[in-house]
Symmetry: C2
Subunit: 345 residues, 2 copies
């Protein structure tokens, strides 16, 4: 008589919300890591009703029919986590977050404002935090910010004796995130009125969230912050292979957020974050400088922002499953780490 | 009647062991951060018996007479932590570590091998770990490795979907650490026999410790490691302002450690770490690359290694005081963080 071997650990079950450019990449990464995708949700009628594997071009079916009814999906499946890559503002995603959290399903999302929402949407954040606690679920946003705009910077700060100010510069390719982000940034539109519209629709929430998380990770106390948006105009026609579309000279090719945060410690944090359609010869930028004793610099040359955004989310899933209920901003999680092979809770 | 204000939090009390180049810098940083230096220890007769402030050129006395008797120092003072910056091998420092730990005094040190001693000195590490636990004290080594060769790299790894290999290159200015490190590296000696001597005296323990800590932080399982030392010869006379001394052409200006670690996950970690007297036009190097999906690169241009080494140690003190007893390698501590103003436990 031989003892039976231990059963394999159960697979993590995920619902994917958003089957755009990011959802397509996330599907492949989740499947690679043996995550069981138990449901998928999209808005576009061209995707709803089809198999997820076909929609994202995986080359084979996944046995998951894309739905447009989140409530029905959550009621009909057992999921450990909802992977949400659908829109970029907390208010836009709040109904979906509420539905997931009410079902006790953890949420991990690329929605930028939730990365550190306490400065830009404190009331909504408090409401979702309370809802999550009441249902024993966690809400975490992650992405490129997690390491490259937060942990790597706070770690470098930890090697300084005295810090006067911290300044970051980053650019990301605005055409890598699909048509919804392109629309959202008003790409290709004439500049008249766009910044005013964007300021109302968006505000400098991505940069503000990045600095808020950085301050939290570094143990600093923000006292005041301000930010502004500026258009980035195409000086000549710029063709986007990804969008298969040419941004005409003189029109919007992206937007730059410039944010500054003062702290009770007297240390100024600032960040210039530019999302735009890069010309072929333009590398993306990711640089941070710490001014004080000593002067310190960190350079991440030509970061593939879309890929690290999705890979970081997948590597974060076990942390999100293990976190105490509530909004778990990344400063409250362990440092992210690489997950090799099948993802385990 | 007015209520009296809360008393200020007690100052952290430190003993400084080692009053060389690093101890001199550490004295200033500790004083700046309001740490109470309650004792200092040196070996050199030219320092013993004098006031620490005078020995390190602080411009004023500190009321601390440099001693050469650790046992007497520990018996006669109440200290929270011993800051040890005296020598570079665990075996060389083990008697001092034993004495501190037996008195229940926490140790934070720049001694390189202790950074992650489990591969290069497992028996000695186990003995000190047990001793530390028995006396409720902690032993942690930190320095440039903590962030630039470990956390920053494991954080970048956390943004990858698949890692095949990780490679680091680093150089540090071998003349910034005083005459003891210069002697130790056989600087200025003819190359004959030096690598053989260094291999016996030292071995590739710094690089091995860095990769061991990196593997631990990244959740990887080392299976095999190997390393070698190679001399770095001066191609021409190189003057060191710091040592006020010229390394003659053809003699040893430093040593390069090259270490490779295999892991059960199939990921190869490698690190080339070169300590040498840099010519004025040679920048120091700190670069890490991750090969896999995606390819990732991190560049820290011209890192002031001596300064970040000491600043990181000081910022780590509260973590060491709060850590559970035993050898607390940095993968077992929270991410380091900047400490603004007076250091508090």
């Amino acid at each position: 008589m031989t003892e039976s071997p231990d059963p394999p650990p159960p697979r993590i079950r995920a619902i994917l919300f958003g089957v755009g450019a990011m959802g397509t990449l996330l599907t492949r990464l989740l499947v690679d890591k043996n995550v069981e995708i138990v449901g998928a949700l999209a808005v576009s009628p061209s995707k709803v009703g089809r198999d997820l594997g076909e929609v994202v071009g995986l080359g084979h079916k996944l046995g998951v029919v894309v739905s447009d009814d989140l409530e029905a999906l959550l009621s009909g499946t057992e999921a450990d986590v909802a992977v949400v890559a659908a829109a970029s503002r907390m208010e836009a995603m709040a109904p979906a977050f509420r539905t997931c959290l009410s079902h006790g399903v953890n949420v991990v999302t690329l929605e930028e404002q939730s990365f550190y929402p306490w400065h830009s949407a404190p009331e909504l954040a408090a409401e979702l935090d309370e809802l999550a606690r009441a249902h024993g679920a966690t809400l975490t946003a992650t992405g490129v910010q997690d390491v490259y705009w937060s942990l790597a910077v706070s770690a470098m700060m930890a090697t300084a004796h005295r810090i006067d100010s911290v300044h970051g510069r980053s650019s990301w390719r605005a055409d890598e995130y699909g048509p919804s982000v392109a629309d959202y940034l008003h790409l290709g539109e004439p500049p008249v009125g766009v910044i005013e519209a964007l300021t109302v629709e968006w505000g400098p929430m991505v940069g503000l969230g990045a600095l808020g998380a950085l301050a939290a990770a570094a143990g600093l106390t923000p006292t005041k912050s301000e930010g502004k948006l500026a258009p980035n105009l195409a000086r000549r026609d710029i063709h986007s292979d990804r969008l298969d579309w040419t941004i005409p000279a003189g029109s919007i090719r992206g937007v730059t957020e410039t944010v500054t945060m003062q702290t009770a410690e007297g240390i100024q944090l600032s960040f210039e974050m530019a999302g735009y359609v890069h010309a072929p010869e333009e590398p993306s930028i990711n640089e941070w400088s710490i001014h004080g004793e000593p002067e310190l610099h960190l350079v991440v040359p030509d970061l593939p922002v879309d890929m690290v955004t999705c890979a970081t989310l997948v590597n974060r899933i076990p942390d999100v499953l293990a976190a105490p209920p509530g909004i778990a901003t990344v400063d409250r999680l362990p440092p992210p780490r690489y997950r090799h092979g099948p993802l385990r809770a």
